[in-house]
Assembly symmetry: C2
Homo-oligomer: 366 residues x 2
């Protein structure tokens, strides 16, 4: 194998493929980056047991071939090279030579035959969605993915397609996040994708409206971004029927400026850190939310102006769960739908229908 390519383009491609390489595998070959030079195109693949990422770039291929190199050291070498043309060629005794200006590296390589390669997927696109939109949907739900391993299905995000709508849903025992967007498809899909994989996908998705095409198979999802494909396995099992968790009605609607309530909760939570309870109390009355908290360190009282429709109410929360939600919402006014001090609270943007969050209150011992 012999090829010449631009250092910066190669570096960018390595950074993409490397996102699949966690270094946590017990198989040494999965710490490797697969490189194939073929017809003026380089194909790089990184892989672990859950996810594979393939990306392509142009190169001047003088001799075709394929190898696997240690991704970490190879990535570091390329990153540190001058911004110039890089020549890579295989030598005898299982090594490659990397040359760039006056730098010459010799690096051992692994056997490309041992590399598992990509799962075979017949691309049958279900729908396309702008990259920035999907990125926002992932970021707006992934914080609610369960961190503990007692219910593996909750470590994933549900991709639900029905009635030309894509819903992403994540939940743990304390909160739920739902983001929705209209898409152009007549298909119906219900698949759960590991949250960790989606966080890596979100890093690759660009902040523009170029479309990412999505294919589902029985066991996999494929994101096609053009030069880059990400394939993740699906989580096995049935996701929780989340619709049954969302209250259909409420008794008190509170409208409040997002930044004002977020700042108030952040300050109140300074006093709530003691013993990690994060407990803050809301007293909602007279068109204001009074937030209080106290601990051994002292106490705090915050007042935030709000618009109320319904009877006043007292309710307590874990401040962390409210902040996770608010930090992921857009600026502007948010609505809180409340029923009682022991019922779930729904939080939405006042002027956008595409997000819905649920946070359970903390039941206070009287």
């Amino acid at each position: 194998m012999i090829f010449i390519c631009d250092k910066t383009k190669l570096q960018d491609a390595i950074a993409i493929a490397q996102k699949a390489i966690t270094g946590k595998s017990t198989m040494p070959i999965l710490e490797g980056l697969y490189i194939e030079a073929n017809k003026n195109t380089l194909t790089l693949i990184g892989s672990d047991k859950d996810v594979s990422i393939e990306t392509k770039l142009e190169a001047d291929v003088l001799k075709e071939g394929k190898i696997v190199v240690d991704a970490k050291i190879f990535g570091e070498i390329i990153r540190k090279l001058p911004n110039s043309e890089v020549k890579i060629e295989t030598l005898e005794n299982n090594s490659i030579q990397i040359s760039c200006e006056k730098s010459v590296f010799n690096l051992v390589h692994m056997n490309s035959e041992e590399f598992p390669g990509l799962p075979q997927i017949n691309e049958n696109i279900i729908f396309g969605i702008p990259q920035n939109l999907l990125r926002n949907m992932i970021k707006g739900t992934s914080f609610a993915v369960a961190q503990d391993e007692t219910r593996p299905i909750l470590q994933g995000i549900l991709f639900e397609v029905e009635n030309s709508k894509l819903n992403l849903v994540a939940l743990d025992g304390y909160r739920l996040a739902l983001k929705s967007e209209l898409i152009d498809t007549n298909n119906t899909i219900n698949a759960v994708i590991p949250g960790k994989t989606l966080n890596e996908v979100a890093k690759i998705l660009e902040d523009n409206e170029c479309v990412v095409s999505i294919t589902f198979t029985t066991n996999h999802i494929l994101f096609n971004l053009g030069n880059t494909k990400v394939i993740s396995r699906l989580l096995e099992g049935e996701f929780i029927k989340y619709n049954a968790l969302l209250p259909q009605d409420y008794k008190l609607l509170v409208t409040v400026d997002k930044q004002a309530i977020q700042n108030g909760i952040e300050r109140a939570s300074l006093m709530a850190k003691d013993g990690n309870s994060n407990l803050i109390k809301f007293d909602i009355n007279d068109d204001a939310i009074v937030i209080t908290s106290n601990s051994q360190l002292g106490k705090v009282r915050e007042e935030v102006s709000a618009n109320m429709q319904g009877e006043g109410m007292q309710i307590a929360f874990n401040s962390k769960y409210l902040l996770d939600v608010l930090k992921n919402m857009e600026d502007g006014e948010v609505e809180m739908e409340l029923t009682s001090s022991i019922s779930p609270c729904i939080i939405k943007n006042k002027n956008a229908e595409n997000s819905k969050y649920l946070v359970l209150p903390v039941r206070l011992v009287k």
Copy 2:
């Protein structure tokens, strides 16, 4: 005690005084921030056993007094408040109330009588030096301070004043850093200040030419920045006679572009990490430095153009020590003075006399 002051100014002052509060003391009072309100001035003091920092700011003092509050939580509260006026007043039962717009915090305070206060120092200024110059001198030497505790005096930086010149010197068993500047004084000083303290001082020094005035006593150094004073204890004992370590002569003078040699060493060291030896070899000949290194991973060859005066030479180094030096030097050409493969190497800026670095080579087993 009752006072009103600007939130941002208070926050900035807390950040300065907090740099002395390491949280590593066994005395709880030293986790506290001392606050004294007196004649429209607030005085804040943070302290640990090695260093004390006092800073002053304007305030509208309605009732004089002094307290000590937990520095960490107090700092977090002030930081999170709106950018507005803050009112702080003592209440009964050992607490203070912090009010700002619609936020009210109650926080317990400690007894100000228990606070050790500043060491009494009769300010008798020895010399003044622009803040940015002193900051660069500290940054340019502190990396060479010994990390291990076997010789406590080497955990400090020598401040040596003689012949109207200030020298800062740090060294461990492997390298030495010397920075010099002319100053206006006839005094002679030889004092060693803990490196950790100086790193904190460097963070407070601003990037401008305002003068910091320096006073020495038998046991302390005082940096007076105007509104802020930093007092550090001196390390006991005699510093190493560093001049005896610096070779007076050399056989080979190599002049090389700083960035080019630094980049070459950085790349070569990628292959030298194996086993943490960081070993790289220089072959200096024909107006070029060829840097090589190898490990189980592979090998590397870098070539850097240089100007040579003297016979060619081979010499090996720990790449980390060379990089520490080069990262702290200004861009441009650097000179390396070499005598043999087992003699110290001196590194200087070609066009500036104010820095001198010594790095010991690694002796290769033939």
